[in-house]
């Protein structure tokens, strides 16, 4: 007997033999997380503390994202999970299987079919639509963390909008490398107020956050923080006047589907230096191949 046989979609556990609630978390926990999400949406970019729960997976595997997804998912939702842009990597497969089992929801690998997309490291290449929710798994929510170790101090800095330190980091990059060498988790300013860590997505994806039609939710399980970017919100990557923000550029197209202007992964083919560049977004790659 599988667990899903005993689950109802109304969110209440059945009496006989149910070991957990719809979507794993109990209703009180979901309410608590939803309150945090609502507050996060009301204050774009602000990190809302929440009472993160133990999940049946280790910290660092997306416990924050899973809790956010579990709190917002309903029986009619269609879930897509990506890890490094791919639908078929271990983490993506197991989180998808987890929600199939505990919520009995439909899953997909198609970006445009999904209503909730849980992601680690990427924003899909296919532009997101209104009504979709992108849930990020965040390892370290505090953009100032490696510059200022004290949580009390970083909270004060956010409260008083003291973000000079963030530019010290960028200055240091230019002084050392001649350009801003930060390629992922590139800090952004949300709606001219909070500086936010967009989680370790490549800076290539930063412009997609700006004025996105989809709701973007960020969950950090170990650090117990939730933050959000509501649809149509201004998101600006930090830079200097004489060293403006730039995204990565790739000289060759995807070796499989031939697309350009998208984010590519380097794949090592042998031990003699052979390599190729392919789409990091596997669903996008497949779609391109089907079209041609």
């Amino acid at each position: 007997m599988t667990a899903s046989n005993n689950l109802t979609h109304e969110g209440a556990p059945t009496m006989a033999g149910a070991t957990y609630n719809f979507a794993y978390l109990d209703e009180q926990t979901k309410r608590m997380i939803r309150r945090a999400i609502l507050k996060a949406i009301a204050i774009p970019g602000y990190q809302v503390p929440f009472a993160s729960r133990e999940m049946p997976m280790p910290y660092g595997w997306g416990t924050g994202g899973v809790q956010v997804t579990a709190s917002i998912i309903g029986p009619d939702d269609v879930l897509k999970v990506i890890d490094q842009g791919a639908d078929d990597t271990t983490n993506a497969v197991s989180i998808r299987a987890f929600f199939q089992k505990v919520a009995n929801v439909a899953v997909t690998t198609r970006t445009h079919e999904a209503t909730i997309i849980q992601t680690r490291h990427r924003i899909p290449e296919t532009p997101l639509k209104s009504g979709q929710v992108l849930v990020y798994q965040v390892p370290i929510p505090e953009p100032l963390r490696f510059l200022e170790p004290r949580e009390t101090e970083t909270r004060t800095m956010h409260a008083l909008e003291e973000y000079g330190l963030m530019h010290v980091k960028l200055y240091e990059d230019i002084a050392r490398h001649g350009y801003i060498a930060k390629t992922y988790a590139y800090p952004v300013k949300v709606e001219d107020r909070y500086v936010m860590d967009p989680s370790p997505i490549p800076k290539f994806d930063n412009p997609k956050m700006h004025m996105s039609e989809a709701l973007q939710l960020f969950g950090a399980g170990r650090e117990k923080r939730i933050y959000a970017i509501p649809p149509h919100t201004k998101v600006v990557s930090l830079d200097f006047e004489d060293h403006p923000f730039e995204v990565q550029k790739f000289s060759e197209p995807c070796a499989i589907c031939g697309s350009r202007g998208i984010y590519l992964d380097e794949v090592i083919l042998d031990d003699r230096g052979g390599h190729m560049f392919v789409c990091s977004d596997t669903d996008f790659c497949e779609e391109q191949r089907n079209e041609h």
Binding site: L147, T156, L160, E162, G164, L165, H167, V168, K169, Y171, E172, I174, A175, R176, D239, F240, E241, D242, H243
Partner: protein, 261 residues
Amino acid sequence: MNIDDDAPLLTVNGVGKRYGNRIGCADVSFDLWPGEVLAIVGESGSGKTTLLNCLSTRLEPDAGSICYRTRGGEMRDVYQMREAERRFLMRTDWGFVHQNPADGLRMTVSAGANVGERLMAVGERHYGDIRGKAIDWLGRVEIASDRVDDQPRAFSGGMRQRLQIARNLVTHPRLVFMDEPTGGLDVSVQARLLDLLRSLVAELGLSAIVVTHDLAVARLISHRMMVMKDGRVIEHGLTDRVLDDPHAPYTQLLVSSILQV
């Protein structure tokens, strides 16, 4: 000389801080005038650092008031300001030079970024300009411009202290607090640092409050001095007067205990 010089920059009235039953400092009152350097001397445990921390808003006093005249000419009680204003003051109009440079510097970022931090904190967003100003200030504290990308960890104690001074002065503060700025440096480096401090203070018209246990340092850089013992100010006057003609018995003891080489 402008008209503002007729009014004190900092007015301290009856400031006291207790640690439980013990007195940190008690009933300290004085005025500090623009361009003036005040030395606070006394033995270890006499309350010098407690007083300095109270004055620089790093430690809230239990009694008394500290008023600062802002650039707008307004006298403001520093503990009545909003935290945002106070922190803004701390990183623009004020400076704080720690005894141990590691406390006042970011040891893991380059010298240029250390000097540039305050500029970026007040909104400068042009890398070339920030770097140019950093190099200029390194030159003024006698650090070669080719060290701009080195981390303070690679600097000697004297260089670190000079870097800390540059980092504080880059926003042209009007008031600088210094806690034993020459402590832990050998005498020849001390002498050069004092020379540098003296010329910077004169050149920029800075006011400074310097805590030191070294009477020679006080003699060299300060106009006025306060002698503290057991948390109280026991003597207060022009530096030369206090050192040449000490009135209080403790000050006489202090002055006579200087080793003559």
